[in-house]
Each structure stands twice: as C-alpha cells, then as structure tokens.
Amino acid sequence: MNAVATIDWHDQIFDVLQDHDIKQVYHVPDAGHGKLIEACQKSNSIRTVALTTEEEGIPLAAGAWLGGQRSVLLMQSSGVGNTINLMGMTKTLRFPFLTLITMRGDYGEFNSWQYPMGQGTPKVLEAMGVLLYSVDNAAEVKATVDAAARSAFNGGQAVAVLLRQKLIGIKNFGKK
C-alpha cells in the first residue's frame, strides 16, 4: 500500500463540509460518493436529501440559502446535464453554490455510454459560469474542496469540484 492510498479522502470531504457549516446535502445514489453520503446520513448536524434527478439540487440549494443555510450537491458527471438549465439560477439569484462531482467517462472508463456527458461536463459547467476545480490526487482533495467551499460561501461563486476518475479508481468502481 502506498502513502496516497492510506488517505481517506471521503472522510476528509466530510470534515470539510462540517468545517464550512454545511447543513443540507443533496444526492442521488452514487458509488463514488457512497461513503461520504453514508457519513452525512449518519450525521446529526446534516440533513441529507435523496433526489429523483440532480436538477432538484439547484433550487433546493437556492431555497436553503434563502433560509440562511449552506448546502452541497453531490452527483456524478452523468447527472450534470440534468442541472444545466436551472444552474442559471446561480447567476440570476447570485447565491453561493457548491457541487462535488465524481467523474465518469474520464480516465480508463470501460462504459462507452459514460463518455459523452463525462467529457462534456467541464464544458457545459463553464458555459453556465460555474467555477471549476479539479483533483486527481488523494493528497489534494481536502485542500481543493476547502478552497472550493471558500470560493462559494465567502466569494459568492457557483463552484464545482471535479473528482477525477483517476482519483476514484477504475477497477473497483461500482463496488463499495
């Protein structure tokens, strides 16, 4: 086992979310985010909301912010396209927005159906004015998510962190 493999970046993301006082976590079922979702579900300070489509995460985040709470949307790149229209709300309302995206169709992906949205993800997010952070090294996950949360909640930006497939792992993807 090498040094990088011993870093549990899922736990680190959970800590960062707590540090930034995130109260609502929106998600669809996702193997890549699975461990983080479970940690949030078990937390007393975080309300997790399972979505029927990623699109719901944008207005949920807007509503939470109207009510004074911070939130985060956890999704796969395959769901990013579902959010693009309502992503415009981050511009019209100008509210802080943070999403953490596990990438598919990215690095050694075996499933050809994942490539179109995976490869399109950075482009469509950029087109909607979302600030992109990307991380493929476990040692940099914590600092990257922390910086993204600062850009969102201190800087008032819409920010996406792309958790690259190189980070998540190719071989064991889809398993816990």
Partner: protein, 204 residues
C-alpha cells in the same frame, strides 16, 4: 367535469391576507408570480421570473432551513408538470411546515394558453391533454394530505390548510382561464434574494 369557476387573483389574495413574518412565499414563473404580487409585493415573497420547475424544490430547501416558519409554494399546472419528481423528494422529507398550492387552469398561460396535460382528453385538436390529476400524483408520491379544490365554498378551508395545517400539504385548485393584468414585482433575482434574506435573517 364541469368548467372551473374559481378566480385565481381573489383566491391568492385571501391566501396571503394578513401575511406576517412567519409566512415565506415562493411563486412560480408567470401567472403565479403576478398573482402574489397583485396581492401585495413584500420582501418575504420570492416571485420567480424563470426557473420553470424550480419552486417546489426551492420551497423544500427553504422549509428545511426555516422549520419554524410557514413556507407556501404557489405555482401553476405547467410548472408543476415539469417537476413531478420533486413531489416524491418532498414526500421523502415530510416537511411539516410546507404547503404547495397549484393553481390549475389546464393551460400554459404565458405562451398563449395551449393545453397542458391536465386538460381533458378528446378536447378537440388543439386543446386536448391527458386529464392528468396532479393531486393524485402528489398523493401517489407520498404526500398523503393532497386534495382538489373546485368550489367557492371550499376556499376558506383552503386558506386555513395552506397557512396552518401540518405539512406537507398539497392542494390542486381548479381555476378559470382568465385574461388578467400583469402585476410585476422587481425582476432582479439577486435583489429579490437579498431583500428576502434581509427581512428573514437581518443580513444579506
């Protein structure tokens, strides 16, 4: 089914009558926006000018953030049809402070009154829908307290349910197709958000 007789404007005015700091209102784009504004623009109104399909999820996020306040989402049938899944997401959370009122005129009012899916089937070549029953859908999604309002005599109860009944509450109100004056709130979304937060939280 007989033609709808309820008029949306007086009904919405009644629903918002005496609204205080305890009532947080989100309205969907188009007619629902103009309706709540006609009843009196206020900082704790969040009238949407776009973002079709957003109000129910937005109301849920707000209701969870402000569990001691009443959150009332008012929108139309076209908007609701675009986000049916949000009703299941609401049902999974069971927010007891959230009420959703859908004003159903069976038309897409902003684009020229084309039939929505809530219009009856076999209603002519340009005005046919599917007879979709949004209250039944809400109940099927897991919002047990879902009902349809059709008669003037039911309006007082509707107002009570929207304002005070333990949520989640879903009411489908069959309303007439009417040509009404556009009564517009400020359009700038950031301004609407900031004034809402200022009124609710004391800061932007």
């Amino acid at each position: 089914m007989s033609k709808a007789t309820l008029q949306r404007r007086p009904l919405v005015k009644k629903m918002l009558d005496g609204a205080d700091d305890n009532l947080l209102v989100i309205a969907g784009l188009g007619s629902a926006n103009w309706d709540i504004t006609a009843a009196g623009d206020r900082p704790l109104n969040m009238p949407l000018w776009g973002a079709m399909g957003a109000p129910v999820a937005m109301g849920l996020g707000l209701a969870m953030a402000q569990p001691k306040k009443r959150v009332l989402v008012i929108t139309g049938d076209g908007d609701m049809l675009m986000s049916l899944g949000a009703l299941a997401t609401v049902a999974a959370q069971q927010p007891d402070n959230l009420a959703i009122v859908v004003l159903d005129n069976e038309k897409f009012g902003e684009t020229g009154n084309q039939a929505t899916h809530t219009s009856p089937r076999n209603n002519g070549p340009t005005d046919s829908g599917a007879g979709t029953d949004l209250a039944m859908i809400a109940r099927g999604c897991g919002i047990a307290d879902s009902a349809i309002v059709r008669e003037a005599g039911e309006v007082d109860q509707l107002v009570k349910d929207a304002r005070t009944k333990k949520g989640p509450v879903f009411r489908l109100v069959k309303v007439m197709v009417e040509k009404l004056e556009f009564v517009m709130p400020p359009q700038d979304g950031a301004h609407l958000k900031d004034r809402f937060r200022q009124a609710l939280l004391g800061h932007t």
